[in-house]
Amino acid sequence: MREFLDGNTAIARAAIDAGCDFFAGYPITPATPILQAMMRDLPRVGGIAVQGEDEIASIGFCIGAAMAGRRALTATSGPGISLYSENLGLAQMGEVPLVVVDVQRLGPATGGATTVAQGDVQFVRWGTSGGYPLIALSPATVADCYNLTLRAFDLAERFRCPVFVLTDKEVASTMDTVDTEELEPIPVRAREIASPECAFEPCNYPSLDQNVAMSPFGGPHLLRFTTSTHDEQGYLTKNPVKIDRLNHHLIAKIERHQDEIDQVRADLQEGAEVLLISYGITARAVEEAVRYARAEGKRLSALTLLSLWPLPEKAIGEAIASLCSFSHAQEQGREEIRIVVAELNDGQLRREVERIVCRPLRSCRPQRSVQVIGVHRIDGELITPQQILQAGGVA
């Protein structure tokens, strides 16, 4: 069975299936269909959906509701993320489970409302004061939109932090043919709730990388929530030891468990000399580029990142290493391995790949030169499969 479906609809449907019971948002192209779907459907399943007076209020409502026990979602585009910024930091500091959809459009500023871009990649990672980590997933297809939104809700419960579904105008708005079995309604874990019998310290994590069970406002425990540096009870502190532990907790709880987050689609081919790395809508041009090139007998590998933050460095490193071990470039007298990073921005993922490439590639003996080539567009048009193949030297 099939459906003719768009990403925004798939995201809203996944949210309902994930047990989301609170939504607040503000209209913005191209994310508005999510607001409208949630306003229509959440009341039908006993949830609450409201439109805030602006984006700041909308995410504030979500955070308050989440701490009162709700499973909350909000959705916007780049200009809305700008307004979410301070509260994303608050949600990191207060360890709020929250799913945030960013349907990227062309920036900067109001940019192009109905124009595609992937320019918020570094913004969502570093867009809050202090620079602490959060999680971002990146769907490339309509089915990914459904599956990764469910996963985002699960990761928000697991890690108690904002989790982005970082999509774009094309993936979210373009209708596509989906085989219904591609939609995988994975279970979303229940919120870990503190036992009513035990004493409750809202911020007394058992170890640096572990979370505290939550207790909602109105529950059996008194809850103190604070966005300021705080001690185990949630009281303001200037004690450097406690501050250091708190801030390292915010990092360690995600970084030490990155293997629970990382998700990629690796299509690695024996003997490949070129690796194409991408995500989101651009990954679909990569997929076609691979199909065309292989049909002509060319050998090339592709890696689609479905999780962007924390960066799946292990999978990227392995894909690069596979190129080294597979490649018969050397036999053919070529010294160079090519990595093409294709994205609708000026190189936001490319700089991350360059950083990884700079590390010694142990599987390459003797050391081979690796060239990282960016294919970037910021004119509101899609990157074509041909552009990608040309950049990889396999056109």
Binding site: R13, A57, A65, G69, L90, M175, T177, F217, R224
Partner: protein, 444 residues
């Protein structure tokens, strides 16, 4: 509660952290006294604060607490109240919060969400060194108004009132009845706000030689009434929301329309169709139907739209791709088939026509011709006297013509897409338009 609560202040946290003589002491003690009189369950009570000296207050109460970002406390409080309407939600902000959080304040008042907002108004930013706020009186000396404040102070009670707040009062820390007034505000089932005037003994009072007497004079001669100013029986928002959505409960959520491929098709390789017309001309729904019909015929389809931010004016373009295998790249550089039905899309249509080759077909409304292109041009006579196609139906009629000519898949698949996915009224109109297209195609 089984035992009587003598104080809601947490003795382990005392003394309060405020300057000697600061009015915040009195505000918190009055709030404590009000809570004692009401004997609310601390577990069902949430004190929400944000930034400024008054923002330190939540730490001194043995209730639930939420300490958030400057000016945003009303938004968190709204989320908490909406999530759990049984909770008593109290917001403590300063005069600074009325500026940065002004938008939230007026909208919470407008919604009449069940919060009690205490404005600890000492006319300046105490924590950061005595800068002026939106409530600083005209002419006042502050760290940022050294020649006297040029701005007129906001009357926060009037603002809340005009926005529809359920209950609004003004008082001072010198009022012995302040605890009773606060208790009254707490019990109001709706948005309640109390503007409480007080002295900042670190900055505002010394900088302006501002005393209790000056405050009383300002109240009297500045036109600031005290006491309960507004009582407005309106439904509380969280309760009103629940009532309003009651009939929605249990209704079917969108589960999409499953399309069962059961027709045949004649497509062998990817086919790219570009439909160009005017906004409001059902261009997107035409491309959508083409895609849905294709799915019913066992094909893969994508539909990508391009349109300006305006709604009923300007161009509308729909790019529909049909293929026998899943479609990755959804862009169209050169359409195999162009359908162009309205003047609004001329620029985009001409750009496509210059790229098209002799193998490509362009179905163009007769009144838009002539055009230069290598593509085969097929003229659509929408003006034919026996048909007289309305402008808003041109795209869908054109689709009827094109499918009849191109025979990508059976006409029945398209008709079934209409019947399966569209509301009766729209389906009828679209089926008529498609039938018109069939007729029109005989002459092309």
């Amino acid at each position: 509660m089984s035992t009587h609560i003598d104080t809601y202040l947490d003795p382990r946290r005392l003394p309060l952290p405020f300057c000697p003589g600061c009015g915040h002491h009195t505000v918190l003690k009055a709030l404590d006294e009000a809570l004692v009189s009401l004997q609310w369950d601390p577990h069902q009570t949430v004190i929400v604060t944000d930034i400024g000296c008054i923002g330190l207050s939540d730490s001194y109460f043995s209730t639930n607490a939420f300490h958030g970002l400057h000016g945003r406390s009303i938004t968190y409080a709204t989320g908490i109240k909406l999530a759990n309407p049984d909770l008593h939600v109290i917001v403590l902000i300063g005069d600074g919060g009325c500026g940065i959080g002004g938008n939230h304040l007026i909208n919470a008042a407008r919604r009449n969400v069940g919060l009690t907002v205490l404005v600890a108004n000492n006319f300046n930013f105490g924590m950061t060194g005595g800068q002026h706020s939106v409530l600083t009186p005209h002419g006042a000396i502050t760290a940022t108004t050294r020649a006297g404040n040029l701005e007129r102070p906001l009357d926060v009670c009037a603002i809340a009132g005009v926005c529809g707040a359920g209950w609004v009062a003004r008082s001072t820390v010198f009022d012995p009845d302040l605890p009773a007034l606060i208790a009254q505000g707490l019990q109001h089932d709706g948005f309640a706000l109390i503007d409480i005037w007080e002295l900042c003994t670190a900055y505002y009072a010394p900088n302006n030689k501002f005393t209790k007497r000056d405050m009383m004079n300002l109240l009297e001669y500045g036109g600031f009434a005290t006491g309960v100013l507004i009582e407005n029986a309106r439904p509380e928002y969280a309760a009103a929301y629940r009532k309003a959505i009651k009939e929605e409960a249990g209704k079917q959520v969108d589960k999409g329309k499953v399309l069962e491929p059961r027709f045949t098709h004649s497509i062998e390789k990817r086919l790219k169709v570009m439909i160009v017309g005017a906004a409001g001309g059902r261009v997107r729904s035409t491309g959508h139907l083409l895609g849905q019909g294709a799915v019913l015929a066992g094909l893969y389809a994508t539909q990508r739209d391009d349109y300006p931010v305006t709604v009923m004016t300007g161009h509308s373009i729909c790019e529909t791709i049909l293929d026998t295998q899943p479609i990755g790249y959804t862009g169209i550089e050169r359409p195999d088939v162009l359908i162009w039905v309205a003047e609004e899309g001329r620029r985009q249509a001409m750009a496509a026509l210059t790229r098209m080759t002799a193998a490509d077909r362009a179905y163009i409304a007769g009144d838009l011709l002539p055009v230069q292109s290598e593509a085969q041009i097929i003229s659509l006579d929408f003006e034919r006297p026996d048909l007289r196609v309305r402008a808003q139906n041109r795209a869908i009629v054109a689709l009827g013509v094109v499918l009849q000519q191109e025979k990508w898949y059976p006409f029945e698949a398209l008709e079934e897409a209409v019947q399966q996915t569209q509301r009766e009224e729209i389906a009828r109109s679209n089926l008529e338009a498609l039938a018109m297209g069939k007729k029109l195609s005989i002459n092309v």
